[in-house]
Structure formats: C-alpha cells, structure tokens
C-alpha cells in the first residue's frame, strides 16, 4: 500500500496539472549562464531547475587516464541536497552513478572525440530542484552547454520522458505520475537523424504502448529541440549580427 496516492491521475483527459496526455510542461532554456565555465546552460521544465556546465577540452590529469587516440568524456549528474522533498544526502549514490553513465553514453554519439586525443571534456549537471525527468532535462541542458562551449557536434541531443499513467500513454511525466504511474521511459535523441542515444524504461508496456510512447517522445523532442536552438540563437545571434 502506498500512501498519498490520488484516486486518479487523469480526469476527463486532463492530468493533475491540467495538461493533456501529449503536452509538455512549460519549458525555458538559457545558454551561457555561468561566467567561468567554457559552456553552460540552464533549463526549467515544469518544476525542474537544472544547471549544466562544460569544461574543456583540456589536458586530462592524471595522465594515466588519458586515451592516446580520443578525448575522454566525463559526466557527473548530481542532485542538490535541497532538490527533493526529503533532504538528499550529498554526494554520489548508486542512482546518480548509473545516471551519470547513461548520460555520458547519450552524449558521446554527437561528439568528435577523436579530434582531441589525451584530452578530457567534463560535463557537470546539477539538479537544483527535481520533479521527475531530471536525467532527460539534464541531457537537454548539457548538449546546449556543449554547443555553448564551442565544441564541434554532429547535432544536439534532446531528452524527454514518456510513460503510462492510468492506462494512458503520456508525455513528460511529472513527479506524481512518475511515482504512481505504470511506466516511465526516458529517451534521448539526436533529432536531425532521429538517432536514439538513451533509452531506459521501467514499468509495463505492451508492444503497442511502447510504439505510442516513442511517437509521443519524438513529438516532444521536436518541440524541445526548437527551444534548444532558440536558446543558442538568443545568445549568439546578436553578436553575429553586429559583425555584419
């Protein structure tokens, strides 16, 4: 028995926050928000507030961690102690270590790591306020930060989650839906060629629901991708126009 669960999470086709099943939460992305980092971005998705920073490419220290033919990408996903209802013990735990790994593997396909042998690129993702979907929103912000750092990329990477709530396939789960829903599937994609670089899922999907959830995820990703590009334009377009 779980405590506090509302009887229904979708009433008359509307979710707890009034969204329809195929709607994203309000989204805001800003590029270049930190002075010292080589690249940075801030994202708000619903109640999520996430900062991403990129340092590098720079020489890898200690040297035994260098790779002679490629750069090493390191990712750290970290939740602030105050980012969730109960204070989270600071520092890495098993969940954040796994998430750091899958985020790294979601970002690697867009980078040209062979351009920087012996170097390291550090990506730091700090979850300041969490409300489900933090790993995918973190990826969305991190790829904007990588672009802001001027690192060559094949495309951005855009993340979103889809899932199942009260038997309905929905886009962009919020905390209550993640907690009490029947399935959660974080997805990250290189949008131009629709290449899937992160896929996780837990819960229960029929094959048909899996397809529907992927359709919804791709739909959400198109919208988020536009917001990512807009954030980069907002920062860089004025200076480009000045040069003209």
């Amino acid at each position: 028995m779980e405590t506090g669960k509302p009887e229904r999470l979708i009433v008359n086709g509307r979710r707890l926050d009034g969204r329809r099943p195929d709607e994203l939460r309000p989204l805001r992305i800003k590029a270049g928000v930190l002075k010292r980092a080589d690249g940075s971005a801030y994202i708000e998705l619903g109640k999520n507030k996430i900062l991403a920073a990129v340092y590098g490419p720079k020489e890898m220290h200690p040297r035994h961690l260098q790779q002679s033919d490629v750069a090493v990408l390191r990712c750290r996903y970290n939740m602030a102690p105050f980012s969730v209802e109960e204070r989270k013990r600071p520092g890495p735990d098993r969940r954040s270590m796994e998430i750091s790994k899958v985020i790294r593997e979601a970002l690697e396909p867009v980078l040209f790591l062979h351009l920087y042998p012996r170097a390291v690129i550090d990506v730091f993702i700090e979850i300041l306020q969490a409300d489900a979907g933090t790993r995918t929103a973190g990826i969305t912000a991190a790829s904007v930060a990588l672009a802001d750092a001027g690192i060559p990329m094949r495309d951005l990477v855009t993340g979103v989650s889809a899932g199942k709530v009260d038997g309905t396939v929905v886009l962009d789960l919020m905390k209550e839906e993640d907690q009490w829903g029947e399935a959660d599937m974080p997805v990250a994609v290189m949008p131009r060629k629709k290449r899937i670089t992160l896929l996780q899922m837990d819960g229960n999907f029929t094959p048909e629901e899996f397809r529907q959830a992927l359709d919804l995820a791709f739909k959400g990703i198109d919208l988020i991708y536009e917001a990512q590009k807009e954030a980069l334009r907002e920062k860089y377009l004025p200076s480009l126009e000045e040069e003209k």
């Binding site: 899958v102 670089t197 896929l199 899922m201």
Partner: protein, 253 residues
C-alpha cells in the same frame, strides 16, 4: 574498463557481422549454450548458477527481517547487489562497485521489481515495523560477455528456488513468486543486430539494448548502453529478438 582488442581481430569481427556471421559460428539470433542449475548453495534460501557459454553467474537469495521504508509500510523490501569479482576477468578490480557493477545491479533490479514477480505486499510481518527483505546477490564468476542476461536469468531462477526461512514470523506456505521476466540484450555490431554477444563482440559493439519481457510479450524494463545509437527500426528489431529469444530462455526456468 574495456579489454584491448587487436585491430586485425576487430576488422575480422566487423566483416563477419556484415555477412550475418559470428566468430563462433552462431546465428545472429542464437544464444550460446544455456545452463541453469538451482540450489547450488545450501546457506542461501535460494540460489542458481547460470552459464551462457563461458560466462558464469551465480546468484544467492537471502531473506532477512528488516524495517520497511516509511512510504511503503506494508511492503517487503527488495535489494539487488552485483559483484564483478576480480577472479572473473583481468579487467575487474577489487574495491567498491564501479559504475558497471552498479548499472548491472540496477538493470536486474528493475527487471525483477517492475515485473512484480515477487508479491512484496505478502512479505509484511508487522505494518510499519517489520517486513521481510529479499537480498539478491549477483556473483559474476567468469566474464565472457552478456552479464545482464545471465544475471537476470540466474536471479529469477534463484527466486523460484527460494525455500521459506525457518521462523515463527514466516506464515506463508511458500515464497510468493509468479511471472518470469527474461532479459535479452541485443548488441549492434557494424550496424548488425545480434543477441548474446560474447566478450569480443561486446567489446567492439557500438551499442547494446536490453529488453526485459514477460510471458505475454509485454515489456517491463529496458536499458540502452554503449556510446553508439539506435535507429527507430532497430528498436522494433530488438523487441522482436527479445520476445523470440526470451521465450526460449524462459523454458530454462
């Protein structure tokens, strides 16, 4: 940490994949020889040893009394831990679990938890005070690739092997399990999808996707790994492989 592979060998394996062939002569949708042995450890409530070709994974299940989590006061506890033992591979080192061991444990945890194969609600002793905790310890003994599938298979086999503990607090006739989740990991090698990668294939694969399915063909967990990507059509292909090979694997349980 990945093992080194010579570029000659790598090119050979990638070339074979393009012809739909594999280094050990298997078909792309063919597992290595699978064996499941139950009841191998007398000190565990349930245990199993699974072999996938040369890969060997042992799982021990222990039941112990513990305190429930505050948000689920009537529910038993499930804990999955994986040890990549230094005796299993030259690349495994002693020490606290690294990200590979943590990922393995969490992927197995989700396959089992989300399938709801254990009725955790039945494992309550006293609401809010005492419940049964199910500890699944995955012991990797020999690493020749595809640890995820071997670990899920061994964990489910060990759970079906559980004999109730001797205790006054244990009131159930038997350990409450139903359903048999099975994980199938598909790797992509030179764009070619294949199941049950051996270590050499695994080390040069672009990416992997693990899909855990149930008897009815529904999906209970997925995990992509590796630094490559999948196209959408490849996900469909992976699901078909997971369903088909999963059915075969389930017969071993």
């Amino acid at each position: 940490m990945k093992e080194l592979i010579s570029s000659v060998k790598k090119d050979y394996l990638l070339g074979l994949a393009l012809q739909g062939k594999r280094v050990d002569g298997r078909a792309l949708d063919q597992y290595r020889e699978v064996s499941v042995e139950r009841g191998v450890i007398g000190t565990a409530q349930g245990s199993a040893l699974v072999k996938l070709g040369n890969t060997q994974v042992m799982v021990g299940v222990k039941l112990q009394k513990g305190e429930p989590f505050p948000d689920t006061p009537t529910s038993g506890i499930l804990v999955v831990n994986a040890e990549l033992l230094p005796l299993a591979s030259p690349t495994f080192e002693p020490g606290p679990p690294n990200e590979d061991a943590i990922e393995l444990a969490r992927v197995v945890d989700r396959a089992i938890r989300e399938s709801q194969m254990i009725d955790l609600e039945k494992l309550c002793i006293k609401e809010g005070e005492e419940v049964w905790a199910v500890f699944i310890d995955i012991y990797v003994l020999d690493h020749d690739g595809n640890l995820i599938d071997a670990s899920v298979l061994a964990s489910v086999a060990a759970l079906y092997d559980v004999k109730p503990p001797v205790s006054e607090e244990w009131t159930l006739p038997e350990f409450p399990v139903s359903k048999k989740p099975v994980a199938v990991t598909v790797v992509k090698l030179n764009g070619v999808m294949m199941v049950d990668a051996c270590l050499e294939e695994e080390n040069i694969a672009e990416a992997r996707l693990t899909i855990s399915t149930l008897e009815d063909g529904s999906i209970c967990a997925m995990q992509k790994g590796g630094s490559g990507f999948f196209e959408r059509e490849e996900l469909e292909k992976a699901y078909e492989l997971a369903r088909k090979c999963g059915e075969e694997l389930r017969k071993k349980l």
